[in-house]
């Protein structure tokens, strides 16, 4: 099963099992979703529960918040993180704050999904990796499913959560094949996960960089360096303890993050490891991030701008 099919399976299961669940967003109905995640769902569940919206990101995200306040369990698909910038006011000022500024009177059980990331030559306006920005905001949860199992399991977990959950699906992962237990329900959304065991170095990553990091770990193994790969999975609330356990074993850390280096989520992970695990470190924490440039269109330039397997291997060797 692919990552895309796992999301669709999650959507279908959610729509089947809970009448309060509905899906809305740009082109989720007739078109079947810009990434085909919701193909067939309009036919199965009808236009009341699979709702095509106008290109009004701020209002349909805000309407998701309102519908959640009104007793529904909305899944809002914002086509891509790039367009989510038009809805940031609703995210930052309403979704994240309403519970707190009402003194705990309201919960907002809202799931917002969007594609994120670069790598497809879509240039400077369609290649953002801004999940780290979202993770800055208390009041929301931020998930970055990087496996087929998490693609479904995290969506179901988001729908069981009483608070607003933002799910960032890396666009390069949609065709990825993987294992999925048909009966698997909601995934844990509180912990990071070790995806590969190793004793020599800890590679921390999330989302679209996980497959690259695992491939780099295989290449390192052939060079007799055993890397432990930790998938952060949940950027907020962040599970720092899993990182520290690994660092206590390996004493070296490289963080791979597709966002720009300055102010990146990699910087946050690095700071927390330094604050809480300084004594475990035998070398400074290293970061592999995107180059500080709006994403160029040309293939070779885009490849150079993004973290790649080669640079991960090289960075580890240089530690």
């Amino acid at each position: 099963m692919t990552y895309r099919e796992a999301i669709r399976a999650g959507l279908r299961e959610a729509l089947r099992s809970d009448p309060r669940v509905f899906l809305m967003g740009e082109d989720v109905g007739r078109y079947g979703g810009a990434y085909a995640c919701s193909r067939g769902l309009l036919e199965e569940f009808g236009p009341e529960r699979v709702r095509d919206t106008p290109l009004s990101e701020s209002t349909f995200v805000g309407a998701g918040i309102g519908a959640a306040l009104g007793g529904m369990r909305p899944i809002v698909e914002v086509m891509t993180v790039n367009f989510s910038l038009l809805a940031l006011d609703q995210v930052v000022n309403n979704a994240a704050t309403l519970r707190h500024m009402s003194g705990g009177q309201f919960s907002i059980p809202l799931a917002v999904r969007m594609a994120t990331g670069g790598g497809r030559q879509l240039a400077a306006q369609h290649s953002h990796s801004l999940e780290g920005w979202y993770a800055h905001i208390p009041g929301i949860k931020v998930l970055t499913p990087a496996t087929v199992a998490d693609a479904k399991g995290m969506l179901l977990a988001a729908l069981q959560d009483p608070d607003p959950v933002f799910i960032f699906e890396h666009a390069m992962l949609y065709p990825m094949e993987g294992e999925l237990d048909e009966d698997a329900g909601a995934a844990d959304i509180s912990q990071a996960r070790v995806r590969r065991q190793g004793n020599d170095v800890t590679l921390i990553t999330f989302g679209g960089s996980l497959p690259k990091t695992l491939e780099a770990a295989e290449q390192l193994a052939s060079l007799e360096i055993e890397a432990e790969v930790v998938d952060a999975r949940v950027l907020r609330p962040l599970d720092i303890s899993t990182f520290l356990t690994s660092v206590a074993k390996t004493h070296r850390v490289v963080i791979v993050d597709e966002a720009w280096r300055t102010g990146s989520f990699a910087a946050e992970i690095s700071a927390q490891i330094m604050e809480q695990g300084f004594d475990h470190l035998d070398a400074p924490v290293a970061r592999i991030c995107a180059a500080e440039v709006p994403m160029p269109y040309a293939k070779h330039l885009e490849e150079a701008a993004l973290p790649q397997v080669g640079i991960i291997v090289k960075t580890v060797q240089g530690l």
Binding site: S56, S58, V61, G62, A68, G70, H100, G103, P162
Partner: protein, 358 residues
Amino acid sequence: MSSRSLDLQGVSTTFTLTGEFEMQNIDINTIAQSDLQAVKQNHALTLLHEMLRIRRFEEKAAELYSLGMIRGFLHLYIGEEAVAVGAMQAFGQQDRIVATYREHGHALARGVPIRSLMAEMYGKANGCSRGRGGSMHLFDAGRRFYGGYAIVGGGLPIAVGLALADKLQSRPYVTACFFGDGAVAEGEFHESLNLAALWKLPVLFLCENNLYAMGTALARHQSQTDIAMKAQGYGFQGEAVDGMDVLAVEKATRRVADWVRQGKGPYLLEFRTYRFRAHSMYDPELYRTKEEVERWKERCPIATFQTWLRQQQLLADTTLAQIEAAVDHEIEDAIVFAEAGPSEPVEDLLRDVYTQEG
């Protein structure tokens, strides 16, 4: 004033002197003429009482602000009371209210307890938002008062979503969404009107046009200053109402709330009103003349309504004195409640960020 009329058709809600929410079901056909007159008088006096509560509450809040007892931003509604009080008569307990950061009047008119409002202004744990919101973020889930939005236009999409939830669950409720003329310039206004009309949602858009977006006059921020007309661009109806006439506001709102409740889609009312006080406590009011403000004050919704009530022989001096005394007493009591209220312990700083703590 002669155009005012007290139409009781469909009166269903009122508030007692203490601001508690009560339901009254009145069948006008079954009551005697003398009783009808009494009901009319009672309702009219309730409207006056509600407007006076808001006026005095805010006058006191301004006073407490200059004494440093209330901080943050304080946006006064003085001059616009007829809108909140008149409009709120049209909504039942199950209807939903979305307001702005100038929402003391809406909260009071909705029946949010005055004690909890004053305590909120004081930042106390017994405030309606536990002291986390302040003047701009008043909430009361039990009274379906959904706040309290301080980013102009930000409440409109929330209202659309609440209405969507009701429609999807086949509930006959109306979501009333208050906003100012400034919000009309925001994209969310246009997106929300479009979506509500497209999906035929039970939202009543209530624009309080006080002629200024903070300090920018309507004609300086709108290419088309007829706000009510803008609904037509989205295929539904809008109309302008004299927002200084509480009876006109009530009558219009009842009529269109019924329309919305019947599932006919959204409706836009533009209440033409005026803010007598500065935008906030920091505003030196350089953008309008004193003469303009004075001219509008001659149309004060409370003073003109009192005059009309006297002409109709519905208001005796003793009654007014009783109402004034009740309001003063209620506000003094609220201040005592707020001042005695507990401050939340700093150890609880991080509560209510997430539903499940930790």
